[in-house]
Symmetry: C2
Subunit: 208 residues, 2 copies
């Protein structure tokens, strides 16, 4: 998840320019220390423009979350899952990567802080519920297609998607809030064990 | 997880009195809005005593986390797992309860906020790493005993414990940061699917 993934070209409107500045400031400072002023320092135009567009830091950050989701929705087509096994593997590679580039790790830390705002702020709660729903639906579509094609066993795709999503969210939380040298919070272990579980639960007896 | 679980009798020393006041204030206000002053309002003695014992809010909260872990360690014996299947079921009942009392949910929200501090504060990071290690070791002991007794298949107990822990952490995160009416973030689905997975992966072919 590099800057270029979300902001591929020179931004062509003020909102996108603001949100790209927000992305940089959020990675650098984290949620707690973030201020509109610090976002302004990453922004080429006047900081006063930020106040013109947004009521405050949280208003801006919720719009930022919406923008990130829109980009994901554009990038990941729902209609077609040609290769369900490959698609599931890609999801695992992304959600349980053994290591992350610094930029992506900084971003994951900031997203953890933003998600924590959802414990008491309904706007964040709505945004993360939409995020969860998007990934849940994406996972369910992959599983359903794999069942239809005979690649996967006849599991309940909705329920397995819920289990996978909880696992991904927990592994990411542990990754950014625990000491990484701890074997017990190792994302590698989670990935290896999940592969073993899916081999038994999802793939066996499908005639391959 | 009621107040009585952690603070069963009248506190018998100033530290415990302070930490019980912290528990109440944290549930009521959450991390962001919490101040030493608000903890003082829950405290029978002078607020100045809080400043005498702690350098500030975060110093106090990290001690609070350590205290909670000490209590858990006292309550859950490690030496003996007489009934591994029953013990695993108890862990699932606790970690993936279909609903929580208000008090426990308020506490879970506050713990999510505290955990988020670990993204940028090493003291919180150490505390949550210790928490994770405790639960990981507890889960591993249950799985190992079940394998030894022939109740469970010959899985890697360390790795499966890591997977279960990530799942529990993610389900709890989603519970306190998503709209609960969403089927896709339903803890009931995660629990039901995890039971189905463990039936296939951990229990089948153990001769029962």
């Amino acid at each position: 998840m590099t800057s270029n993934e979300f902001f591929p070209t020179a931004p062509d409107d003020t909102r996108t320019e603001i949100l790209e500045a927000t992305y940089r400031a959020l990675r650098e400072h984290g949620y707690d220390a973030l201020t509109i002023q610090k976002i302004g320092e990453e922004f080429d135009k006047s900081t006063s423009l930020l106040y013109h567009h947004y009521e405050g830091k949280d208003d801006l950050l919720v719009d930022f979350l919406d923008y990130m989701l829109e980009r994901l929705e554009d990038d990941i087509p729902f209609e077609t899952v040609d290769d369900p096994k490959g698609a599931l593997e890609t999801v695992l590679d992304h959600a349980l990567a053994p290591s992350m580039e610094d930029e992506r790790e900084e971003f994951a830390r900031a997203m953890n802080e933003l998600r924590s705002q959802a414990t008491h702020d309904p706007a964040y709660r709505e945004a993360f519920t939409r995020h969860d729903r998007f990934f849940h639906d994406r996972l369910t579509a992959i599983l359903r297609e794999g069942i239809d094609q005979g690649d996967f066993r006849e599991v309940d795709p909705d329920r397995l998607a819920a289990l996978l999503q909880a696992t991904f969210n927990g592994a990411m939380t542990q990754r950014v809030t625990s000491d990484s040298e701890e074997r017990e919070v190792s994302v590698e272990d989670v990935r290896a064990e999940l592969e073993a579980v899916l081999e038994t639960y999802l793939l066996e007896d499908t005639g391959e």
